[in-house]
């Protein structure tokens, strides 16, 4: 398959430079940055578009194996391609939990057969995510896991956590940990602040996260493990992480896109879509997270895509399943931040490409000749309306449902193959 993407501008997230050029893809790689002399099988018109490396998501739920009614690798990787993503790190809290090489192999096998984009499994840090027994970390890594994580389940036992880190350090593995103190978060379902106070919702205090961040940073420093903090939600966490980085501790962090765009007010009227974990916090926290991305303390923005079936969101707020369907709207939500002047376009695109690549220990993706053809073609100035029908994901509970969003993805190529093309049947 020879594909020519023409009339667009290539954007390099590392240098931040834009170049007007065609991209010629052949046999899975970028063969030339100009129109070839030979005939091509397919032309993609990128008029008015940016051509960028495909986005990398460090936290995505594809619901396979397990919850069929919430999504599958087939449905969610197609949704991801629609959102411009070419690489997904899938959370270990599937059913069964990805705590053995067999489950990892299953995920990779299904992804190879039905996936539209690259799937990188993240293994469970403890057996069954139970927080007590170490999982076969080296075995999981050999099977293809790129990191080990606690998923959405807080680790209650500091001793186990310390041993997880020491063991992971032995093999040079990276840990993705979502920081939350179980006892402090307790039965909460919203940020403990003025909105939860008004609505009478049980709160999750800021310290439920910052205490966990503090603990994780101290243990990471002691054990020397490569620690990545997933989905931080408070300004104070950013401050703690920034200080630790300044002291030379090997810690990175990501934030979910919805934590950059929304605050606790989104819950007003008991909108259960915005029941997410960690909760949407105060405006000051949102500002702190944005500053963290701008300053480079937070180097990756994730979708934290959590597709749910409608029934899971049809209940009184505290009884609903947490999570938003976001993978298709992450780019558009990010462009809204750019429109608001809260993030620059280069910073946004770096946090979706080179930032997460570095967390995974990979060289930052660039659209150079010879590089794998993982790329996204999108029109930043074009608008689409997000409706249930427009979403390919099984989860229709997008944060921006019914709203107009800038940034129409015209095509996504993964490994030189068309994973998504607008109006196409690929």
């Amino acid at each position: 398959m020879k594909i020519l993407i023409e009339n667009g501008r290539v954007f390099d997230p590392v240098s931040g430079r834009e170049t007007e050029t065609g991209v010629f893809v052949k046999e899975g790689v970028i063969a030339a940055l100009e129109a070839p002399e030979q005939a091509v099988d397919r032309r993609i018109d990128a008029q008015g578009c940016l051509i960028v490396p495909g986005f990398i998501d460090l936290s995505c739920h594809v619901r396979e194996p397990g919850d069929d009614q919430k999504g599958s690798i087939a449905s969610e990787t197609r949704a991801a391609a629609h959102g411009g993503f070419t690489t997904l790190c899938t959370s270990p809290d599937s059913s069964p939990v990805n705590d053995s090489g067999a489950v990892t192999n299953l995920i990779l096998d299904v992804a190879a057969r039905t996936g539209a984009v690259r799937v990188l499994p993240v293994g469970a840090i403890t057996r069954g995510l139970g927080g007590e027994l170490l999982s076969d970390m080296a075995g999981l890594t050999n099977a293809g896991c790129v990191a080990l994580s606690n998923g959405d389940r807080p680790l209650g036992n500091s001793r186990v956590l310390r041993r997880c880190m020491a063991y992971a350090r032995t093999f040079g593995l990276t840990l993705f940990i979502q920081p939350e103190n179980k006892a402090l978060a307790a039965e909460g379902c919203a940020h403990e602040g003025s909105v939860a106070t008004h609505l009478g919702l049980p709160g999750i205090p800021e310290v439920a996260e910052t205490i966990a961040v503090g603990e994780l940073l101290l243990l990471a420093e002691e054990t020397g493990v490569r620690l990545h903090l997933s989905q931080v939600s408070t300004a104070r966490s950013v401050e703690l992480i920034g200080r630790a980085q300044a002291r030379g501790i090997a810690v990175t962090a990501d934030v979910a896109m919805h934590h950059l765009l929304f605050n606790e007010s989104a819950l007003r009227g008991f909108d259960s879509r915005f029941h997410v974990r960690p909760p949407l916090r105060s405006e000051a926290d949102r500002q702190g997270l944005l500053a963290g991305v701008r300053d480079g303390v937070i180097t990756a923005i994730t979708s934290q895509h959590r597709p749910q079936d409608p029934a899971a969101k049809q209940a009184p707020l505290a009884e609903t399943a947490p999570g938003l369907s976001t993978v298709e709207t992450t780019l558009g939500m990010g462009l809204r931040l750019v429109e608001n002047g809260e993030l620059s376009l280069p910073v946004l695109l770096a946090a979706l490409t080179s930032g997460p690549a570095q967390v995974l220990g990979r060289t930052p993706p660039r659209l150079d000749v010879g590089a794998p053809a993982d790329l996204c073609v999108f029109a930043p100035g074009e608008t689409w309306t997000v409706t249930a029908a427009s979403l390919l994901s099984t989860g229709k509970h997008a944060a921006v449902l019914g709203e107009a969003l800038n940034g129409v993805v015209r095509a996504t190529l993964c490994n030189g193959k068309v994973a998504f093309v607008a109006g196409g049947d690929d």
């Binding site: 003025s194 259960s272 049809q314 209940a315 009184p316 707020l317």
Partner: protein, 337 residues
């Protein structure tokens, strides 16, 4: 951030600005709250007749949906509905449908199919009545009979009626609400109603473990001490203290709570001499309040029970009225097409 979100107003009112659900005090303006109180006054008069029944809701079906047991509140709603001539169905959901694995939505849709006109909902989760009104059965009038820690608007309005009967006004009033504010849906609704109706100052009094985070954003003044909290108060509202608060490490003991925050004759003396004492009941004597105060001349606790039926009749008839007006308008639009 607005304290009266437009979204609450939008859900509770029909396009003509009339009440169609009664979910919370949030988003309702002073005129509407006054209309509820005035209408309730008319229903108090009905309660004094030999036949205490009016035909407003004749042929309508009111379903009491209590997901959390409360005989007392359910009885006043039942009596209110019956005095409006409605047919009343009492469903104790905690023991029926949900234990068979039927989802909340399915249970409600079945009830709607039985031509129900109104659901009176009590639920342990904040926002459950909002969820039902918005997502499940928008054509059924929803009356919130208490949801989680969020709101108990009929209780708050009956308290407002009691205050108006004794004080004749809300302007200039200083009201102190004492006790477990954190878990109290009643307190949240009272604060909102008092501020909307024009009270000068609303205070909440309690230990920090029982006060919600950022409570000042509710529009109240926060006091930890009874002496400063009750100083020159016109109205003192004591909240009920649940036993389980001791287990959650929120309070050491009932005895210590009573010493610090229990309303005794001595502490009541901090308030204005003509201050009234209220309590949503049932009272824990010797925990929140001294018997001498509960039964004393400043106590208006019994009065509140009579007002409860009248207020519930008022909101039920108003919400039904708002629903019918909306249906009528929809039918006319349909006919003109």
């Amino acid at each position: 951030m607005s304290t009266s979100p437009a979204s609450d107003r939008h859900i509770q009112l029909n396009p003509f600005g009339q009440l169609r659900h009664f979910l919370s005090i949030d988003g309702l303006d002073r005129n509407l709250l006054t209309e509820i109180l005035d209408t309730a006054d008319s229903f108090i008069e009905v309660g004094e007749r030999s036949i205490k029944k009016v035909p407003l809701l004749r042929g309508r079906t009111v379903v009491n949906l209590f997901f959390e047991a409360s005989t007392r509140t359910r009885s006043t709603f039942e009596l209110a509905a019956k005095r409006l001539s409605a047919d009343v169905l009492n469903l104790d959901i905690s023991t029926s449908a949900t234990s068979k694995g039927e989802s909340l939505s399915d249970t409600l849709l079945n009830l709607e199919a039985m031509a129900s006109d109104m659901f009176v909902v009590r639920h342990a989760q904040s926002g459950a009545p909002h969820f039902i009104a918005q997502s499940v059965t928008p054509g059924v009038a929803i009356i919130n009979a208490g949801d989680g820690r969020h709101a108990h608007p009929t209780q708050a309005m009956l308290d407002m009626l009691t205050i108006r009967q004794h004080k004749g006004r809300f302007e200039g009033l200083v009201v102190a609400i004492v006790g477990d504010i954190l878990h109290s849906r009643v307190a949240r609704s009272q604060v909102r109603a008092l501020l909307t109706l024009g009270a000068e100052e609303v205070r909440i009094v309690g230990p920090n473990t029982l006060l919600p985070r950022d409570a000042e954003t509710l529009g109240v003044k926060i006091h930890n001490d009874m002496r400063s909290g009750l100083r020159d108060a016109d109205v003192v509202i004591m909240l009920r203290l649940q036993r389980e608060r001791m287990e959650g490490a929120l309070l050491p003991s009932e005895r210590e709570f009573y010493r610090q925050y229990g309303l005794t004759t001595e502490k009541l003396a901090y308030a204005r001499p003509d201050a009234i004492v209220m309590h949503p009941g049932p009272i824990n004597r010797g925990v929140e309040i001294e018997s001498a105060v509960a039964d004393g001349p400043q106590s208006v606790i019994l009065n509140q029970v009579t007002n409860g039926i009248a207020v519930r009749m008022a909101v039920m008839s108003m919400a039904m009225s708002g629903q019918l007006a909306e249906r009528q308008a929809a039918a006319e639009t349909q006919a003109s097409k």
